[in-house]
């Protein structure tokens, strides 16, 4: 979180509390895209994400006066968003698309890599691949179950620290790290297979 962003948040909080004109516009300017994006990555459905975003902003407006300020403003909003979305998911039948276990690295009994490794880390540095890669990362992220997806989105997409993500989700830092690690292992494996296929085809 940059110092500038921090200042913007402080000013926004102040004007929301005072009910200053333009406060709501500023709230929307800073958070509309982020909240919609986070809601989309949890709910994976546009109309659900829209309704969730409405609930989130409603809650923020209602509770801004009682917000204690012992955590950062953005982390408070993200937390409201995550909770709102998880509540929405509850009760809905979840159709998990893939089992993450199938995409974990495989080792021999001696703990050595059981399959050959293809080094695509240099290839993906080509800018021409960016759009395609971005699409693939998003697709594979969507396949993750929500437990891993939320952590991966907050940490690796949004760039929050493990501590911040832990606070938002109400989990311990080790729990966050373990989920993030598994999510990355999954994406690594999926990207490897995808890029290898591309080469063969």
């Amino acid at each position: 979180m940059s110092a500038e962003r921090w200042k913007e948040d402080e000013a926004l909080l102040e004007s929301l509390r005072k009910g200053a004109p333009g406060a709501v516009d500023e709230l929307l300017r800073l958070y509309q895209g982020k909240i919609f994006n986070l809601a989309m990555s949890i709910l994976k459905n546009e109309s659900d994400a829209e309704e969730a975003a409405q609930d989130v902003f409603m809650t923020v407006i209602r509770k801004v006066e009682t917000f204690q300020g012992n955590s950062a403003f953005y982390s408070w909003i993200y937390r409201i968003c995550v909770n709102t979305c998880l509540m929405r998911l509850r009760g809905k039948r979840r159709n998990e698309t893939v089992s993450i276990e199938e995409f974990m690295p495989v080792f021999t009994d001696e703990g050595m890599h059981a399959s050959p490794m293809d080094d695509w880390s240099k290839e993906v540095e080509r800018d021409a691949l960016n759009e395609e890669l971005g699409r693939m990362i998003r697709k594979y992220t969507e396949e993750l179950s929500e437990k891993y997806r939320v952590v991966f989105v907050l940490s690796d997409v949004e760039g929050l620290s493990n501590e911040e993500t832990a606070k938002i989700l109400g989990l311990s830092v080790p729990a966050i790290k373990s989920r993030l690690h598994r999510a990355r292992l999954y994406l690594r494996e999926q990207l490897s297979r995808y890029l290898l296929e591309g080469k063969a085809g």
């Binding site: 709230l27 407006i61 703990g111």
Partner: protein, 171 residues
């Protein structure tokens, strides 16, 4: 350290939380193990690329959703302060009523002993309140009195000094 152990320590390796001696061991393994080197590079590429390609990975908010959301939030923000004001006015009215009852009960000697004692010692120390309550007693007490702001502030402080649950009035 074998390859499997190494793979499971990579998150620590990249977030800098790894014990320096373990890190040395891991680096030594990487230097002599080609598959682990490739695994580690590609693992790192996942989070590096994700951060870099954020723009392609994030969901763009559709214009019509943006419009609807803005309309909704503005409407909600307009409605909400009214409700807060109503609630605050109600709380203020309740409090004024309670103070009025308390003041008239004080003048009529109908306070519970705990608050009566507090009131007495306060009036002895505060000429403003002492005079006010004296004059009330002399003129006879109406059932409810709205005191001036200065007095009200002192009465509120007294009310807050009383332990919660303590009765204000004589039974």
């Amino acid at each position: 350290m074998n390859c499997k152990e190494l793979a499971y320590m990579l998150a620590d390796y990249f977030d800098g939380s790894m014990d320096p001696r373990l890190r040395e061991e891991l680096d030594a393994h990487l230097a002599m193990c080609e598959p682990c080197m490739v695994f580690t590079k590609t693992y790192q590429a996942v989070s590096d690329k994700t951060r870099l390609l954020r723009r392609h990975i994030e969901y763009e908010i559709p214009p019509e959703v943006r419009k609807r959301l803005e309309k909704f939030v503005h409407a909600a923000a307009l409605k909400y302060p009214e409700k807060i004001r109503e609630y605050r006015d109600q709380v203020e009215r309740d409090r004024r009523g309670k103070i009025a009852d308390l003041v008239s009960a004080a003048a009529a000697g109908r306070l519970s002993s705990a608050i009566a004692l507090l009131m007495e010692s306060h009036c002895a120390a505060c000429p403003e309140c002492g005079e006010y309550f004296d004059s009330l007693r002399k003129t006879g007490t109406p059932p409810s009195v709205d005191p001036p702001d200065g007095i009200r502030a002192h009465v509120i402080t007294l009310m807050q000094t009383l332990p919660p649950g303590e009765e204000f009035f004589l039974a």
